[in-house]
Each structure stands twice: as C-alpha cells, then as structure tokens.
Symmetry: C2
C-alpha cells in the first residue's frame, strides 16, 4: 500500500526539520559540536533532582503518578503566576497553563489561531521549531529582518501594511526577544514598545517566546518583557524549565489572557490529556523550596564563561569580513560570512576537519541566510570551544582566499 494516498494536506506539507536532516552529518564521535542547541548536562542540578524526587514520592505518593489536570498542577500555576511578577507581569493562575515544553505551546497556538492562508510574521532568522509549528498549522510565514537591537520595526510596519493591502490576514508576530535562538540578539526597549504599538495599530497578536530569560549575563535582563507592557492582552508569553532545570522534564508554561488559556487548554486536552505529572511535581518542588532561585545563578555563570571563551576566540581567529553577535545571555553566537560564502556548502568540510555548526539558511523563512551560521557555546567545554572556533576560522580563511577552494583546504 502507498500510505501517502491517505495523508492529509497538512501531512503533505510536513518536512523534517533542517537540523534533523543534518544530524547524520554532524553526529560523529570526537567532533567538536557548535551545533547542538541543548543545555549542557553539566548544568542539571543532579543532587537537587534526587532530593526533589524523594520529596515528591514521599509527600504526594501515588497521586504524583495519576492523570493530572490538563492545565497542569494548580499549585504550580499559582506559583508561576506570582513568579511572573519578577518579569513585570501581574498574573493569576487563570493566566497560566502548563505545556509539554514550549514546543507544545507553539503547536497549540498554531492550531488555535492559524488557518491555512493566514500570515504569521517571524524574525529573520527565527527558531526552526517555532516556524515549523506555525507552518504545520498551514500558515504562510513572512520574515522581517533583524538589526543588532532586534527586528526592524519600520520593515515590520511596512510588511504588515503591504500584506493587509493585499487582503491577507496577519494574525500574529512570533518573536524571541531575549538572546534569540539562533541570532543571540535581544530586542531593545524602545523597539519592544514600538512592536506593541504596531500590534495594536494592525491588530495582530504577539507570541513572545522567552525560554532564555533567566540566562542573562549582566545584572538582569535590561529590557522589560513585552507581556509586562501589554495592555490589551494580545501578548501570549511562553517560557520553560528546559534551560533552568532540565529539558527532559517537559515542563513549560504559557501566560496569556484567560480566554486564550481556556481555549489552549481545550486543544491540549485532545493533544495529550495532560503533561507528565511527576515532571510537574518535581518542577513545583524545585520552585517552591527556593532551589530555582539558588541554582539559576550558577547556570548563568556557566554559560557566561563559555560565551566569553567563544567570543574571545572569534575575536582572535575569525578573518576580516566575518561578523558575529556577542550575546548578553542565552546559548548562541550568530556569524555572518562575506557574501559569496555558503555555510551549507562548507559544512561537510568543516565536519571533516572536526567541527560541526548549524547552517543559517533553514532559520530564514525567506530562503536567505546562505552566508550565516549558528554557533552554540552551550555544549562544549571551554578548550573545545576555542579549538572549534580556531578550526572554523581557518576553514573560512581558506575559502576566502580561494572561494572555489579544494576540499582539503590547506
């Protein structure tokens, strides 16, 4: 039988993510991986996790392993509502729903808000998991450029105006305002305010995807969350425990207008009934007993050190003509090669030389970005980061000298 005869229109649109397709290429033993966007297992608070399990087991007993409410453990929703105050947001548990990672929230937002033919505006570049979730709902994705201080708001305005003039329905903007995956860029305060003004003027929703919020390298996140500036409930705020505890606990939360939360909850009931109850109970204990507050500063220092190592290596080794971001938080630097160089074409040679990265083009919904690449400092130890950037810099230098260069490159 040919199964594809049975597939839905949606299934015919499904594509494996570009990162998934790259895995066979970059997943080699001994390789220095600047590719993986995962948190380092070294940041997982193993002793605390042991203690949290013991506590959940003893205090909750069998109830910790029963089906839970679709919206999540109520006590956790209450805690997160209060926690949102640290991000400038006044919320109650009615504003909060737990999801199986923010990925599930993105997929449910797609399901609940996007019809085929609707437009979702995204940053150039943007997180592939986010753009895929929105595209799977049948939306057309339109990209807007980023400057060093975030999305170009004039271009956002003009793009939405043009689409509306064409009779298109622009339903939402998807943005990762802090230490963006993949670019490492944060949006300035003035641009955040301008984005909200544009959203009100053009009447679109804002998906504020903020998984890296706590991973700032200065004294705090300098800019207010857009949710904290949101007066009419059009910001759907997403955050997660994946980077501040561990991603294997599929525990994330959405903070949004109660009407949206209720609708997302109904869609989630059909999607998975509830998220792992033990994962949520462990997360609750992590939050309530002050572990989160004590542990997160260690995670910040961990990634700050690595970020500094990578930035230092980039400054020392990258040839002239290559530019990169120097993020104030999160996991990623983003490099731009002189035009004419193609990061996808270079990848096999880079892997041969012992370094993997993620090519930038798949993060661009407009088909651009061939000369860009994402460099994660989250996975490798400092000396490997330095060595990896050195090797990569040499490769790029070789290609700059000889754009059609030989595969051995020496």
């Amino acid at each position: 039988m040919n199964m594809s005869d049975f597939y839905s229109d949606g299934a015919r649109r499904l594509k494996p993510s570009a990162i998934r397709k790259m895995v066979h290429l970059i997943d080699k033993p001994g390789i220095i991986s600047l590719a993986g966007g995962m948190p380092s297992t070294e940041t997982f608070p193993m002793d605390i996790i042991r203690e949290l399990f013991d506590q959940v087991y003893a205090r909750r007993g069998p109830a910790a392993f029963q089906y839970g409410l679709t919206g999540g453990i109520r006590e956790l929703a209450v805690w997160l509502a209060e926690f949102m105050a640290t991000r400038g947001v006044t919320a109650s548990s009615e504003n909060i729903i737990m999801t199986s990672g923010s990925q599930q929230a993105l997929r449910l937002v797609g399901e609940v808000f996007l019809d085929p033919g609707d437009v979702a505006v995204v940053e150039l570049p943007s997180y592939i998991g986010g753009t895929t979730a929105l595209r799977n709902a049948g939306a057309d994705l339109v990209g807007v450029s980023q400057a060093d201080d975030g999305i170009v708001t004039d271009e956002l305005d003009a793009t939405v105006a043009r689409l509306k003039a064409q009779g298109r329905r622009v339903k939402l903007l998807y943005t990762i305002p802090n230490f963006q995956n993949p670019s490492g860029i944060s949006i300035s305060t003035s641009k955040r305010r301008e984005i909200l003004r544009l959203a009100a003027r053009h009447d679109f929703l804002i998906i504020e995807d903020d998984p890296y919020y706590e991973l700032f390298f200065g004294d705090s996140v300098e800019q207010p969350t857009m949710k904290s500036l949101d007066e009419d409930g059009r910001v759907i705020y997403l955050s997660s425990f994946s980077k501040i505890l561990a991603p294997g606990f599929r525990a994330a939360w959405m903070c949004a207008d109660p009407a949206i939360v209720r609708t997302i909850e109904i869609a989630k009931e059909a999607a998975d009934i509830c998220s792992s109850t033990m994962d949520q109970a462990i997360v609750l204990a992590y939050c309530k007993d002050g572990h989160l507050a004590r542990h997160v500063p260690k995670i910040r220092r961990f990634y700050y050190e690595r970020r500094n190592v990578m930035v230092d290596a980039l400054r020392r080794h990258m040839p002239a003509g290559v530019t990169w971001t120097e993020p104030s938080g999160g996991f990623f630097c983003w490099a731009r090669l002189p035009s004419g160089l193609d990061s996808e074409a270079m990848l096999p040679e880079s892997v041969d030389r012992g370094v993997a990265y993620v090519v930038g083009a798949p993060f661009h919904v407009d088909g651009g970005g061939q000369n860009t690449l994402r460099l994660a400092y989250s996975k490798e130890a400092p000396n490997s980061l330095t060595r990896g950037v050195e090797i990569l810099s040499k490769l790029i230098s070789d290609h700059l000298r000889d754009p059609n260069g030989s595969r051995t490159g020496n």
Copy 2:
C-alpha cells in the same frame, strides 16, 4: 479585545469534552464515583517506581534529563518491538514510536491523515478522547452500532459503501477492540477478520486503540489483535503504559508501518519535540527488569475482583428492563435503561443521592444513547461499588415507576 476574532476555524470547532463539563457536577466530596475512567492509584507499583527512579538516576545520570529523540528512547523501541510478539505482531524498532500517552497518538493520527470533510468511522459508543482528537482534525465522524461481539460489520460495510457512493472519502475506522471504553465490549475474532476484509475492500485504515490489552480477566485475550492479522500495513496499533504502570508517566507507543511511523515522528517533533525522557527511562527499566511481567497479574486480579463486585451488584439490584455488559477485561460496565429514561436528566438526582456516573450520550457521535451510562469499577473500593450500584438501581426503579418522578424519588 475579543480573542475569538483571532481564532482559527479549528478553534471555533473545539468543545470541552462532555466529561470535563460534567466534572463540576460529579466532583463532590464523599460521592461514590462510578464516573472516573482512571486507573486506581492502588495499582501503581510504588515500591517498584522508587527502585526504578534510583536505577535510572544512577545508571543514566544527567542524560536521563536531557532532550531525547522525538521517536523515543531507542532501547525502549527495540524492547517494545519484541514485546509486540506477545500480541502476535512481528515488528522491529522501525515500527515503533513513543508518544505522550495514546491521546497524543490519536491527535497526530488525526493531523496526519484527516482533512476537513474526510470521514472517520467510529463505534457507537466510542471513547470521547478518541472522537475528539479526530474531530479536532476537521473530520466528520460517522458511527456504526455495536452488538455484544463488537461493531456490526454489515452496518459498517453498508455505511462505508453509502458514504463512498456519496463521494465521501472514508479514511479510517477508529476502534477499541478489547474491553472497550466505554462499553466494555470486545470484538470477536471473526468480526476482526471481517473488519480487515472490509478495510481492504473499501481501502480505509484501522486505528486499533488497545490500552486495556493486558487487563484481561480470563487466561488471556481470546482474540488476536487486528495488527497481528494485518497483511498490508493498514492497521495503526496503539497501546500504553497508563493502565499497566501509571498514567502520570505519559508513555505510550504506536506500532505501524515504518512510513507512517516516520511521518508521525515529523508531526510529533513540531508537537512537543520529545516525550518526557525520565518517564521513558523509568518505563524502560520497568519493562527490561521483568517488573512489568510480575506486576501486571496483580493489576488483573485487582480489577477482576472489582468487576465481579459490580456485576454481582447489578444482577442483584438492577430492575428488570435495564441491561448491562459484563466485560472480560478493562474498567467498564455499560448500562442501557428502558427507552424513555434519560441518563443525563437523572444525573443530578443521582449525585444528590451520592452516586456519580458518566452519561452515555456524549460517547455517541450520532446524538443517540440518551438511555445509556458508563459505570466504571476502576476507582471505588468493593463495598462502595456495591453501595453505589444499589443507590443507582433504586433511583432507576423509582423513575421506572414514575417516569416524571419527583426529584426526591422516594
């Protein structure tokens, strides 16, 4: 702002499940609940869970809390592929994908196979979570009656033939062949074979949802799984650890044609990246170390005892004219009242008298079943089951004597 202006067509179709709507009515302290379809927390192997966590923590370390593969832990997929032999199925890990409960599998099947306007055929009655997942994909659901030995295959044949003659695309049949939720009915072997013949003749897929397989009360499940009879890969088989370990671990598996598994995996990547990795690691340890094989017989005895208590009480107390199923496994008896009685109208009075059940109508996609109700013996202790059936029988007797009876009913 009015959020509903932004909703997708799909979101406008979303309805809270009928059970969810009933919760405020039946979730009263002290009530005898014949309503909940959850496993009893008494069946959760708490000592084993403690041991499994310790083992996963010690052996896997931080990797147990990292992102995992979308398809699930490979070692678990390999184990489950071999385990499928106990259900008559020859499989490899290519046939297996882990999902966040079978509910996620049902939602992904809906996404991957159903376009708005496609037809999915379901049993009358059928599991609400299943019908909701398929309806959320935009499919039209058409019901086919059940007899004591399962779906009426002549009616299935005629229904599909009629729909096809009308130009409709019948994509799939959704069936729960063993100890069905809600009816407790199992499909006979001859009917399973006939369903497969009809699927081949009319070219539709079969979703075989089999969460209760291990909970048989005789020596074994008497009938072969349809997947074991499937020669051309049209059966998508779903099963779960929710009833044989605990549902808080959101761990279920699909066994299907490798092409289907790959497509479901791509859809799942956008839906939640991966299921809880700790949950899966614990499930793997539960399976590999023989705990599953040792523990499941205890679960069988537990529910068999309760089933016998309920069936005995029904035989002793129910007035003439009421019929019910006596299941050979699973969680549920299904009662049919003399026509004219309406289980939904009776529910508030039943709750007043101290007993909750689930009304039957929402399990019927054809709008019928007003005189039916689901009675779960999974939750309450034996003496409460007896008492609950007694109270309910008295209520029904009162209504039979006086169909317009007073609310006090005495």
